[in-house]
């Protein structure tokens, strides 16, 4: 296929590298461009104005601006052989041109030129503001099955990739004394003034080149061409060691305490293929700045008039930029429509570049002096007191209808003249880019002279310089920038030295401007001249805004939401101010009374993956591993996530199902000996003379009498009386205890204890230290645990007789210094062996070796759960959900009646917590022994679930397992008044129907507790 040639590229000039030409494809057609082009400038060089279709009416839309504010030129960007690297909704004006780039129009079918969607245009008359709210409420069926699906299909822009993104994204935290946002003349001047002080300065610029407007205007500073001046300043900054230059970096968010977030596009301009290993595609900067200088410039406003959205209608300043920066002639037959002097220069530049300028249409009766004179001198016709009322053309503007303005400002509804043109320049004046200032909490003020919202009171340590401050002339930008830079370093505690704040600049006086929010035709003719668009992405017109007002939507936020103004991907950068002006006129109120809308982050869109940075895959959240982890992996364990911990769940042998594996592990622990890695339990070292008193206050039971060497089980509540955590605590010496917590709660418990210690009881002499990872814990359980212990600790009598239950002692185990605890969470004879963490692996190996011949079997959390449930031991978080008191769990025996006070005690006597019919912990045995109820199943009276809902629920199954020991399924449950219903038959309501079960005591195995001393019952 033959490609397009760059017919509209001027033979010379521009800030592009003509030695490096680039080939790219637009809607399948090959085109050429140069290094330094954006997609937009390259398309214009090839004479392409029609780039996309609007969202609602599918109207042809072109390139209106040259930067972030462009509302319409959105494309799908990608390479056809890289399906994982396609990007929807990319703004042509900000897309760096790279070799082989493929871009396609979005939302047009079958083609951009012939888009069926354009039929929506016919419906535009019906589809006024609030269209959807007013119909389609009649039939739910129609809405669900026909109307909404149609709306959804019509909506949306580009396509989501259908493969995961292979690229890497990075985060960086950086601190500086001064952050300068924007490297136009003001920003460069500010950075240079700040740089010489030794303060750390960061200069962030969204463009790949520094210079801002200087790149698109004919200017001289101190006799030097503006482009060269910018380059010189950049070079000077590069030379200063304390300056960090960040091109291609958009500051997107300004948060509390001068915390700013910036997105750097690191490799997007290098092509779409994979970057060097580890090289991020984008980098999100997290910046803490002592002072900030905002030099974010201004956006030119389009004008609102009939059919003002055709391709070829462009902001005057943008045309100037395309001409000077990219040496592109955006059109040959030009009309300029303006309400200010500044825009005249665009006409003059295009004229000088060889375009025919048919006329300058100025809405003002009396424009300024210099610019009109210069235009007339160049032989350009200047029509004052006139407006463009409508335009002609479909895929490209072909003409503009000029109308006279009546005394009260409305357009006289017949064409004074109809001028042919292929480029209609518009300028409604400048809007300072106050987005970041507003995000920072700064207040805005409407300035009627500048016809713009400008910064007023600021809420943070910042300064504004240049156009974003309403200072539109170059000399002003430079001196304001230099002053702001110097001021910033001074306030940051550095000496800026003598800052130069005056610059010699040649620039015409072009400050005059008069508001024109809508070139509105006279009464009765408002609809005769086409649609006056305000939001070019959401197809909001001036009529929609006035209709909204008629319907009672008077707040600017209401109008925005009702008409969707400013909700596009451009977030209303060009639309919002015009909308406010039109609204003010409709309400007959001055603009300050109407107010402005809030500017929300981000300034321009931020890639999700850049937000995530490295927190992806295994880095989303740390996986905590025990010292013995590799052994479990080698044994083929399946793992369970418990909080952040990876715990062995069960150890399937080849061909074993989970059920088989768990049954085998259970039998081993009940009949031989099983081994568990219990290292994940939280461990807290408690020291100090008041430790016992402290334990008395945080646990529900009494601790004063616990002897050295003994261990006790305790339950903790929160002040609301609900169970918070449980575990054993051992007395190490007279002033020292070791507390264990549940795996998931370890951190929460330590916080809870420190909180009370530091806030409520600072007088208690107690010190807490987390030693969870000081120790590795291997727990052996089973009738043969005693024999195994004997083998591991030869020469020491650790037999149950010599080493009583609920005591601990130091011992040499497998040649390691250990603390051995005689506690049991299984009901079996059990030893918990604690050795220093870094010897955990060695201990595990020793246990496995010594266990040979005894049937030693590693077991995981699932088997642990079965074993403890058979004994009726609870697991916090499984038998509890934050709404159970110790009494609900049948733990009266552990709730002290004598203690004057402990955390949560008082709550236990509140009316509701004292109720007799609260849900209480019970055991549950299925009538059909083969059954294991799904955990979470609800319990009802027999037959109840056959009645229509709501069905009264008695309680629910908290734990349910298959018990090899009982040769039956069994469960623990919370049942209303359960302890009084032992023996009753109830129903477990399963989706398949009810299953009968008998309520029983939660302890189902070895009630007399013979097993825990090794005497198999």
């Amino acid at each position: 296929m033959t490609g397009r040639t760059q017919d509209f590229r001027l033979p010379k000039g521009g800030v592009i590298d003509r030695s490096r030409s680039i080939r790219f494809r637009f809607n399948g057609q090959w085109m050429g461009g140069y290094s330094g082009d954006t997609l937009a400038s390259a398309l214009l060089a090839n004479g392409v104005h029609l780039v996309g279709r609007s969202m609602k009416y599918h109207r042809p839309r072109g390139i209106m601006a040259a930067g972030a504010e462009d509302p319409g030129a959105l494309v799908q960007r990608g390479l056809h052989d890289e399906p994982a690297r396609t990007d929807p909704d990319w703004r042509a004006t900000q897309t760096a041109l790279v070799d082989g780039l493929e871009v396609a129009t979005i939302g047009a079918w079958p083609s951009l030129e012939r888009d069926m969607g354009a039929a929506m245009g016919l419906a535009s008359r019906v589809m006024g503001a609030g269209f959807y709210y007013k119909i389609m409420h009649g039939s739910r069926w129609m809405w669900e099955h026909v109307q909404e699906p149609l709306i959804r299909r019509a909506a949306g822009f580009g396509d989501c990739p259908d493969e995961p993104d292979p690229d890497v994204y990075d985060h960086r935290h950086v601190h500086c004394e001064v952050l300068v946002v924007g490297a136009g003349p003001a920003g460069l001047a500010a950075a240079v003034a700040a740089a010489r002080s030794g303060a750390r300065v960061i200069l962030a610029e969204q463009d790949e080149r520094f210079g801002g407007n200087l790149l698109g205007r004919r200017r001289a500073i101190d006799g030097q061409d503006g482009v060269d001046w910018a380059a010189a300043m950049e070079a000077r900054l590069r030379a200063s060691p304390d300056v960090r230059l960040l091109p291609r970096t958009t500051v997107v968010g300004y948060y509390d305490t001068n915390y700013l977030v910036a997105l750097e596009r690191v490799t997007d301009h290098l092509g779409l293929g994979p970057a060097a290993p580890g090289r991020p595609r984008q980098r999100l900067w997290h910046i803490r700045a002592k002072r900030v200088v905002l030099a974010t410039g201004a956006h030119e406003r389009p004008l609102v008039f009939g059919d003002n959205d055709r391709p070829g209608i462009m902001l005057a300043g943008a045309a100037q930029t395309y001409l000077r920066r990219w040496a592109v002639l955006p059109g040959r037959d030009v009309v300029l429509f303006t309400n200010n002097d500044r825009a005249y220069e665009a006409a003059l530049d295009l004229h000088a570049a060889g375009a025919t300028v048919r006329a300058i249409v100025d809405s003002r009766e009396a424009p300024g002096a210099a610019m009109p004179a210069a235009a007339r001198a160049a032989g350009i016709r200047v029509m004052t007191g006139c407006v463009v009322g409508g335009t002609s053309g479909t895929r490209r503007v072909t003409g503009a209808s000029i109308m006279k303005r009546s005394t009260h400002g409305r357009a006289v509804p017949y064409a004074l003249d109809a001028l042919p043109c292929d480029l209609l320049l518009v300028s409604g004046g400048l809007s300072p880019v106050v987005h970041l200032f507003s995000q920072s909490g700064g207040k805005l003020r409407y300035d009627p002279d500048r016809v713009a919202f400008v910064p007023d009171r600021s809420a943070q340590a910042l300064g504004n310089a240049g156009a974003c401050n309403g200072t539109f002339d170059l000399a002003g930008c430079l001196s304001e920038g230099a002053a702001a830079g110097a001021e910033a370093v001074r306030l940051a505690g550095f000496d800026p030295g003598a800052a130069r704040t005056s610059f010699a600049v040649d620039e015409p006086d072009a400050s005059a401007v008069a508001p024109l929010w809508w070139a509105r035709p006279a009464e009765g003719h408002e609809h005769a001249w086409g649609q006056p668009f305000v939001d070019f992405q959401n197809d909001t017109t001036a009529h929609d805004i006035r209709q909204a007002v008629r319907e009672g939507f008077e707040s600017v936020e209401h109008v925005k939401r009702y008409t969707l103004t400013g909700f596009g991907t451009d977030q209303g950068k060009t639309a919002n101010i015009n909308a406010i002006g039109i609204l003010a006129e409709a309400l007959g109120r001055p603009i300050p009374e109407v107010g402005t809308t809030t500017f929300r982050p981000p300034y321009t869109p931020v890639t999700f993956a850049a937000m995530a940075g490295r927190d992806r895959g295994e880095y989303l959240d740390p996986a905590r591993l025990t010292a013995i982890h590799d052994r479990h992996v080698a044994l083929g364990a399946m793992f369970e996530d418990v909080g952040q911990w990876k715990r062995p769940w069960y150890y399937p042998r080849p061909g074993e199902t989970m059920h088989q594996a768990v049954a085998r592990e259970c039998r081993a622990a009940r009949e031989a000996v099983g081994v568990l890695d219990a290292s994940t339990l939280g461990k807290i070292d408690i020291q100090g003379p008041d430790a016992a008193e402290f334990l008395n206050r945080v646990y529900t039971n009494a601790w004063s009498k616990l002897e050295i060497g003994r261990v006790r089980y305790g339950v903790m509540c929160r002040e609301d009386g609900m169970v918070f955590d449980d575990g054993t605590t051992a007395r190490i010496d007279d002033t020292r205890y070791l507390m264990t917590t549940t795996t998931g709660n370890a951190a929460a418990v330590l916080d809870h204890l420190e909180d009370y210690l530091q806030t409520e009881w600072p007088d208690l002499r107690v010190r807490l230290t987390s030693v969870t990872e000081q120790w590795a814990t291997v727990s052996i359980a089973g009738p043969k645990a005693g024999i195994l212990m004997g083998r591991l600790a030869s020469g020491q009598d650790l037999s149950p007789a010599a080493f009583p239950f609920m005591t601990w002692r130091p011992a040499i185990v497998a040649g390691l210094h250990a603390r051995v605890f005689r506690i049991s969470f299984t009901g079996e004879l059990q030893y918990e062996i604690n050795v220093p963490w870094h010897q955990g692996g060695a201990l595990w190996d020793a246990v496995m070796c010594a266990g040979v011949g005894l049937g030693i079997t590693p077991y995981g959390t699932e088997t642990m759960h079965v074993l403890r449930a058979e004994k009726g031991f609870i697991i916090v978080g499984q038998e509890t959900d934050g709404t159970q008191t110790p009494l609900d769990l049948g733990m009266d025996w552990i709730v002290s009646k004598k203690k004057p006070d402990f955390i949560g005690q008082r709550s236990l006597t509140r009316p509701d917590t004292a109720r007799a019919d609260r849900k209480q912990l019970v055991g549950l045995l299925p009538k059909n022994k083969r059954l294991v109820f799904p955990e979470g199943s609800q319990i009802v009276e027999t037959g109840a679930s056959r009645r229509p809902p709501p069905v009264p629920m008695l309680g629910f199954v908290t734990s349910a397992y298959w018990s090899p020991a009982l040769d039956s399924g069994f469960a623990l449950a919370l049942v209303a008044g359960g302890r009084g219903r032992i023996g009753d038959t109830v129903a477990v309501a399963l989706p398949s129907g009810e299953q009968a079960a008998v309520i029983c005591d939660p302890v189902m195995l070895d009630r007399e507790g013979a097993r825990r001393d090794g005497h198999a019952a």
Partner: protein, 93 residues
Amino acid sequence: MLLIECPWCGSREEPEFHYGGQAHVARPADPSALSDADWAAYVFLRDNPKGVFAERWCHSAGCRRWFNVLRDTVSHRVLAVYRMGETPPEAPR
């Protein structure tokens, strides 16, 4: 993102801290002497002012010490930082 001045470690980013809600809520000396309503007030009722708020933070990723902060709940500005047991300073401005 808040920047909080730990009285010991200095200024650190908010994620290093753990929030503790209203400061200076003394636990009743003798809960058993309280009515259900008074006890409920201690357990559940907390000030929730729009403006200056005396609140607790814990530098959990740092020195693990709890301390008090005077902060404006509208501007998010930290007006003062002081240690446990100290009385709140007069809010500046």
